[in-house]
């Protein structure tokens, strides 16, 4: 096949193994890899079936230099030229260090440099179309493609929260309405005038772009669920934070990587709990000096807590609550949090009721939403099951399973949102350059189509239907 677009995907699973592979296939692989690979030679000049050591760097858009960026990862890149490859096209495989963070970063940069996220089963599909598979293999893959497509569609749609879906549908309705107006005027210029419509449209596009921008940001949020929930454990000294962490990690020997966080003095640990992945930020690192922990610790923890997806607040149920607890509670009650009443093995004096009342008071009785509280004992390792269940209901709606397909779909959604955003940017440029109105609708429809990819809707006869139903044609 000639002139195929270049696709990329993480071809190892999204589990935390020691190494991972990002694979790319298509006509542009070498142009793309050369933009982000730093090694002894340009890979576009490398002979086929050779392996090259080097670094994957942050993608620099043309004309921009990102100063002093550290490499994303030290890698081995395998160069394979068509036709002796799996897909029959030019292919590179980037062997990098495993772990969701590195893999994602590399995939994102490959996409920024020009690759498209692969459709489910697309590598295999290309292998077929290029005659790289025989008859019996073909039949097996039909099933794979089928199941993957269905799964990807199901998950990508069910993954969308109702509100996100509504927002996208809303935007699509707006886009098609305005496009239909322009088109009606073009089809029936003597009845409807579109002169000066650019100004109106600019307002609409600005507004849509703002919403899209928010959605793009939230796509990152949504992904944290799949990449791992950013979790901060808060609590006074000796409440049992560390032992909780030990219980969780000890019970689940699933810690594979220790990922150094963005801030040097914080260690992030990954814990797998019932298909959920928690990236726990252990604030233990900052409590070397016992004296200043009460003040410094809370300040520092506050900072993390504000950016966290989840706060786990560990309370020592055998001791009275004090103003330090209030300080923490004030952070906790506006965030997604769970309160653990630890030391249930001892004589406890703090009950769930006392706690909820205290929160209620701190909130000035404004909100009634209860923060889930669980009695646990890190010593006896009791109450952990309950914690898992609460986490599940908090973060998993339906029975979505964690795996690479869901992950890819997520990047696809984000890419689609960005595509839509860029198409709308082109509309604005056309308006600014005072291009005739018919040019607007070309990019408007592109944006409409990109957004449809997220909600699983195609364009079809939408525009014609909108024209006929909303606008009165002459004749």
């Amino acid at each position: 096949m000639k002139n195929t677009s270049t696709i990329a995907a993480i071809s190892t699973g999204m589990t935390n193994s020691g190494i991972g592979i990002v694979r790319m296939s298509g006509d542009e692989v070498f142009t793309i890899i050369d933009k982000i690979f730093k090694g002894k030679m340009k890979l576009s000049e490398a002979p086929s079936h050779t392996i090259h050591h080097g670094y994957i760097m942050e993608y620099e858009p043309e004309g921009q230099t990102l100063r002093n960026q550290p490499p994303i990862d030290e890698v081995l890149v395998m160069v394979m030229r068509a036709p002796r490859t799996y897909t029959g096209e030019d292919t590179v495989e980037i062997d990098c260090h495993g772990g969701t963070f590195v893999l994602t970063q590399i995939l994102e940069n490959v996409i920024k440099a020009g690759a498209k996220p692969a459709e489910p089963g697309e590598f295999t599909k290309r292998a077929f179309l290029n005659g790289k598979m025989d008859l019996s293999q073909a039949e097996a893959v039909i099933d794979v493609i089928n199941s993957k497509n269905e799964y990807a569609l199901k998950s990508s749609i069910s993954q969308l929260k109702g509100s996100v879906r509504n927002k996208i549908t809303d935007i699509r309705n707006k886009i098609i309405y305005h496009t239909a107006f322009i088109e009606t005027a073009l089809d029936d210029p003597e009845h409807i005038s579109v002169d000066g419509y650019g100004e109106t449209l600019k307002g609409v596009v600005d507004e849509i772009q703002e919403t899209l921008g928010e959605l793009i940001d939230s796509a990152d949020d949504g992904r944290t669920i799949k990449e791992g929930i950013q979790t901060v454990i808060l609590g006074k000294p000796n409440a049992g934070k560390s032992s909780l962490l030990n219980v969780l990690t000890g019970k689940n020997r699933a810690i594979v990587t220790d990922i150094a966080g963005t801030t040097r003095d914080v260690l992030e640990e990954q814990i797998q709990l019932q298909g959920l992945s928690l990236n726990v930020i252990d604030t233990a690192g900052i409590r070397d000096t016992e004296d200043i922990i009460e003040k410094m610790g809370v300040e520092k923890a506050k900072e993390y807590a504000l950016n966290a997806d989840l706060i786990i607040y560990v309370v020592d149920a055998s001791r009275e609550l004090d103003e330090n607890d209030d300080e923490i509670l004030r952070i906790v009650f506006d965030q997604k949090s769970i309160i653990l009443l630890n030391k249930s093995d001892l004589n406890t004096i703090i009950t769930k009721e006392i706690l909820q009342k205290r929160i209620q008071k701190l909130r000035n009785n404004e909100k009634n939403e209860e923060i889930p509280a669980i009695s646990i004992s890190t010593k006896e390792e009791s109450g952990i099951k309950e914690l898992e269940n609460v986490l599940k209901t908090m973060f998993l709606h339906g029975d979505i399973q964690m795996n690479d397909e869901v992950y890819i779909t997520n990047i696809r959604q984000k890419t689609a949102l960005q595509d839509a955003y860029e198409s709308l940017q082109k509309v604005l440029i056309s308006i600014e350059n005072q291009m005739p109105e018919d040019f607007y609708s070309i990019d408007l429809m592109d944006a409409y189509e990109s957004l449809g990819n997220i909600t699983g809707e195609t364009v079809g006869e939408d525009l014609a239907n909108e024209i006929f139903s909303k606008f009165c044609m002459g004749k």
Binding site: M1, N3, S5, G121, K125, F128, L129, G131, L135, A138, E139, V141, I142, D143, I145, N146, N149, E150, L153, T179, E183, L186, D187, D188, P189, E190, H191, V194, D195, N433, Q434, M435, P436, E437, D438, F439, S441, I442, G460, E461, L463, A464, I467, F468, S469, C472, M473, G474, K475
Partner: protein
Amino acid sequence: MKYSANSVWENKDPYDIVVIGAGHAGCEAALASARLGLKTMIFTVSVESIALMPCNPNIGGSSKGHLVRELDALGGEMGKVIDRTFIQSKMLNQSKGPAVHSLRAQADKAFYSRTMRQVLENQENLDIKQMEVTDILAEDGKIKGVQTYSGAIYSCRAVVLCTGTYLRARCIYGEVSMQTGPNGLQPANHLTSSLEKLGIQMYRFKTGTPARLDKNTIDFSKMEEQFGDEHVQPFSFTTDPEDVQISQASCWLTYTNETTHDIIRANIDRSPLYSGMIEGTGPRYCPSIEDKVVKFADKKRHQVFIEPEGLNTNEMYVGGMSSSLPEDVQYAMYRSVPGLEHAKIVRNAYAIEYDCIDARQLKSTLEFKKISGLFSGGQFNGSSGYEEAAAQGFVAGVNAAKMVLGEEQLVLDRSEAYIGVLIDDLVTKESHEPYRMMTSRAEYRLLLRQDNADQRLTRIGYRIGLIDEKRYQKLIEKEKMISDEMERLEHVYVGTTEAVQKLLEQYESTPLTSGISLAELIRRPELSYEAVAPLDRERRELPWDVIEQININIKYDGYIARQKRQVEAFKKMETKKIPEEIDYNEIQSLRIEAKQKLSEIRPLSVGQASRISGVSPADISVLLVYMEQYYKK
């Protein structure tokens, strides 16, 4: 000649092609076939109604103008005839981008019809016969001939059905229902059952037309006069632009008002559309005035265009007010419009119902999938409009001829022509109303412009055999002039001289800071090829249409390049042909709905398959994989 008892006689001299119907589709079909050297017969219920325009008195308009230009580039006739018979002409959307410029001409209807009839009469290899065809004769799924109402049998090798709105036609207004075709002409009542016997599924569609008023009873002083363009452009690439600079007739604009709408609302129950007397499906884009008033209740007024039907008649067409309300309501509502207070109706408005087909029974060549040698075009295929009809008639006629000649069929794709979009939509997509062309239906409309129809299609017309050597050479020459000049403009640089800056200032264009090519200057919205002339000393004189192409190609090159890339992706799927004998039921992984739709429509290519509603992207993957195996067998 021997007369048999049951009055059946067989024409001993067989035809290659029989065309049924002599409207805009039939005329193009018959001319194309005869011009390709095939012995052709065209049947019509009335010779007077050849190339009749029973509704609006104009040719072209948004996207329809594109169709006429394309047809002309391929070797069709419509553009040439309208250039000789128009009485007013306008290029619509001139303030918009070049893709949506569209030529529309008011026709002298009678003159148009007579002129086209003469072209047919003088065409070698073409016979005209006034007679109703009642039966299509086919054996083993192959065309053998046709039989007429008189009982005569005409054997032939291919038939092109262009029956328009005549099949079991019924005209209706108020409680009045007449078994007539348009304009009170005789309908064709027998052919439908013959088609049904051949296994063809019939639909019933509806359309309508406004009243014709007596010009002497209209007060034009209460209306706005609408003029044609100062400089008229011809439709046909063969017409000398000087020949179309004629003195033009005017049209007139007036408006309905609340009184009109009250009259309509008060009598809506007497409309056959609302009383249920009409069963056919009407078009949404061409609503009757009662539809507009009901559906767009918040609109205080609707435009009404009063257009002449010709130079030698006083009848005026009331554009924007088609209706099927009773006669007395028609009088009342028309007379409520300023300028029409004393208007007399020459012909009442009416709705017309007719039999047509679901065009998904056709291949992209417009041949019936089930019956070899049976082709069809025009309103019979579920479209609407003279131009849509002519374009299909042409393709059906060419393909009928090519089939007889054993030569390659003509299929235009969506990236080549509006004609391609039109036919692909008709044979692929489900439609519940007469199909009208619109620019928004063309995904690649920036490439499918009316100004470059010759560059897109003359070559194809030449290959078919309907464009002569001279015209072909003229195109080659034009293309060379365009590319040479564009190449030159990219390489002629101007510096920051005083003359340059002064000229830029004159056009309110940003002054230069360094040297720049002329092409780069032309690309600026406020400048053009003509504007930079003073800076261009080596310029030679070029025809206006060459300059037009240079301007468009340079100014919109970014957009054009983008569409070209989209077309590349589209073409890839389009060139993946699906084997004709493929059995979709054998493909186990296809969903049942996809199996049904694909078996029904039998798309030519994977691209076409992907446009069928009910066929998902996953089905397409499965199909691709299956085809791969298939070709290996």
